[in-house]
């Protein structure tokens, strides 16, 4: 049974269709790159799958059950600029938020929650910054805190919205390492991604999206010149570094 199945999903903002009849099915333990131009509906896809915005039509199944019943199995890493980083809190506190779903209403985090949050910070190389005020962290470090928070959630499927945007090389490397570790543990990860150059290196599967699904499948067979041109409406003039040089 595939961990994530999306069936005929349609989403509209103010009567304008943003996603049209989107269907795909992701096998377990795969890293999936979600690729498409600005306004193609990549973030909307994630938000609609998570029920943050209403779907006009369509269903999302997580391990064979409707998403609404399996919410706890899905972890979400929002775009870094979606929150105010001047909020009065430290890195460890943010990661602990990943445990809130497990802790339950009214109760305080237990020792094992704090231990787990520390382990997650360690996995992204942020343990030395646990007590650091979050506005004092660099953009890449903030992104790693968000990833650690998703890890603390201990989900089976992860949605990550542009984790590679505006991060330094060290963070990019840390994220790739983390993605691979998640994969070996049988987790399924969807990543909204912008850099076409690295798609082949990072992802097993790609979802080429421009309001509709242009192509979905193993990167090897689907990430082709034709499909990319079709996704970007023929606006991609460079394709690979050899193309630019040559």
């Amino acid at each position: 049974m595939n961990p994530l199945v999306v069936e005929q999903m349609t989403v509209a903002y103010d009567r304008q269709l943003v996603l049209e009849n989107v269907s795909f099915s992701v096998p377990e333990g795969k890293l999936v790159g979600v690729i498409g131009p600005n306004g193609a509906g990549k973030s909307t896809l994630m938000k609609a799958m998570l029920n943050f915005i209403p779907r006009m039509h369509g269903h999302v199944f997580v391990y064979g059950q409707p998403y609404e019943k399996q919410r706890h199995l899905v972890g979400y890493v929002p775009q870094r600029n979606s929150v105010d980083w001047d909020f009065p809190t430290n890195a460890l506190d943010v990661v602990l938020m990943g445990r809130y779903g497990h802790i339950g209403l009214w109760k305080r985090p237990r020792k094992e929650d704090i231990d787990m949050a520390m382990q997650c910070l360690d996995k992204v190389g942020m343990l030395p910054y646990a007590k650091r005020q979050i506005s004092q962290l660099s953009g890449g470090q903030q992104q790693r805190v968000f990833l650690a928070r998703a890890l603390a959630q201990d989900a089976s499927i992860y949605f990550m919205d542009e984790p590679f945007v505006g991060v330094d090389a060290a963070t990019e490397k840390a994220i790739v390492q983390l993605l691979n570790e998640l994969k070996t543990r049988g987790k399924t990860v969807l990543v909204v991604h912008h850099d076409l150059q690295t798609v082949r290196d990072y992802f097993d599967y790609v979802l080429l999206l421009n309001k509709r699904v242009i192509a979905f499948g193993e990167t090897e067979s689907v990430f082709t010149y034709d499909h990319i041109q079709k996704t970007y409406g023929g606006k991609v003039t460079f394709l690979s570094s050899t193309h630019i040089v040559g």
Partner: protein
């Protein structure tokens, strides 16, 4: 101790609790970037209070609360309607609605004062607040509501924290965001409404935001910020009520002046975020840099 003293003590206790609740809940309003909501609620409450008075014929805090809550609720619906169906942004919508409601309230208030013997009714105290006008039953309503708000904040602290910091993530991990957001808004409105008589329609929202703003300068932890804001609010409430009692002046402006003094002090002298400490740090760094450059130059000359 005579009865008068006990009454005065109760007025102080209730304004302290009001300030405490106001500062604590204001922390969340400030961090949610919804500082204007309290202002809109307070101004929108005035016509509701006036209508309640016209219907009932005399002052009753409980009825005023109901009236204020109703007109506040109608104002919220108006704001949401404007945002949803026009190109007007939320801040402008709040601006429009709060001034229209306030204008309507002033018209009603003037009419009451001229016709219904309003001068004896004490209804004009709602404009700028008069802590001394709080009666025994007012004090009871105020105290019970303030304590309830404080208890609710303590119970839902963790949840309010996550929906304030990252609403989308909170929704993703299954926290009932809409419900908790509604609870938070309700607590904000409750504090505004119970503060109307003591602090006044015009300035109540400042008691919500100013203590939280001042508290932010002293700490990087939400827990401390909430407590500190509550402390600043309580201090402002008591100080304002005290000066107002001995000087026969309206309470609201005094409360806000006191809160603003606390804010300015924090803004200037807080250890890390304060202006002075920032300037001192910059000065030290500049001196360091200068002496380093001097050493390099000497090194080159040698």
């Amino acid at each position: 101790m005579n009865r008068m003293d006990i009454n005065v003590q109760w007025v102080f206790t209730s304004t302290a609790l009001l300030g405490l609740a106001s500062g604590m809940i204001g922390t969340f309003a400030l961090l949610k970037k919804q500082s204007l909501i309290g202002d809109a609620m307070a101004h929108a409450a005035l016509p509701g209070i006036c209508i309640a008075f016209l219907l009932y014929g005399q002052k009753s805090l409980l009825l005023f609360l109901i009236g204020a809550t109703c007109s506040g609720y109608i104002a919220t619906i108006c704001i949401q309607f404007i945002v949803k169906h026009t190109r007007v942004k939320e801040d402008a919508a709040i601006g429009i609605v709060l001034s229209v409601f306030f204008g309507l309230g002033i018209v009603l208030l003037t009419w009451i004062n001229q016709h219904e013997g309003g001068n004896q009714s004490g209804i004009h105290d709602f404009l700028f607040g008069k802590a001394a006008s709080l009666t025994g039953s007012d004090v009871n309503v105020l105290t019970v509501t303030a304590v309830t708000v404080i208890i609710m904040i303590l119970i839902f602290f963790k949840e309010f924290k996550i929906i304030t910091f990252d609403r989308a993530f909170a929704q993703g991990i299954g926290i009932p965001v809409s419900l908790l957001n509604g609870v938070l808004m309700f607590l904000i409105v409750s504090v505004v409404v119970i503060g109307l008589q003591a602090v006044g329609v015009v300035l109540m929202s400042a008691l919500l935001i100013t203590p939280a703003l001042a508290a932010r300068y002293w700490t990087e932890k939400l827990e401390w910020m909430t407590l500190l804001a509550g402390g600043f609010g309580a201090l402002s409430g008591v100080a304002g009520a005290y000066i107002s009692l001995i000087a026969y002046a309206p309470t609201g402006p005094l409360v806000i002046i006191f809160a603003t003094v606390l804010f300015i002090f924090s803004f200037l002298f807080a250890p890390k975020r304060g202006l002075c400490s920032k300037m001192i740090r910059r000065h030290i760094e500049r001196k360091k840099l200068q002496s380093q450059q001097l050493m390099y130059k000497r090194g080159e000359q040698l």
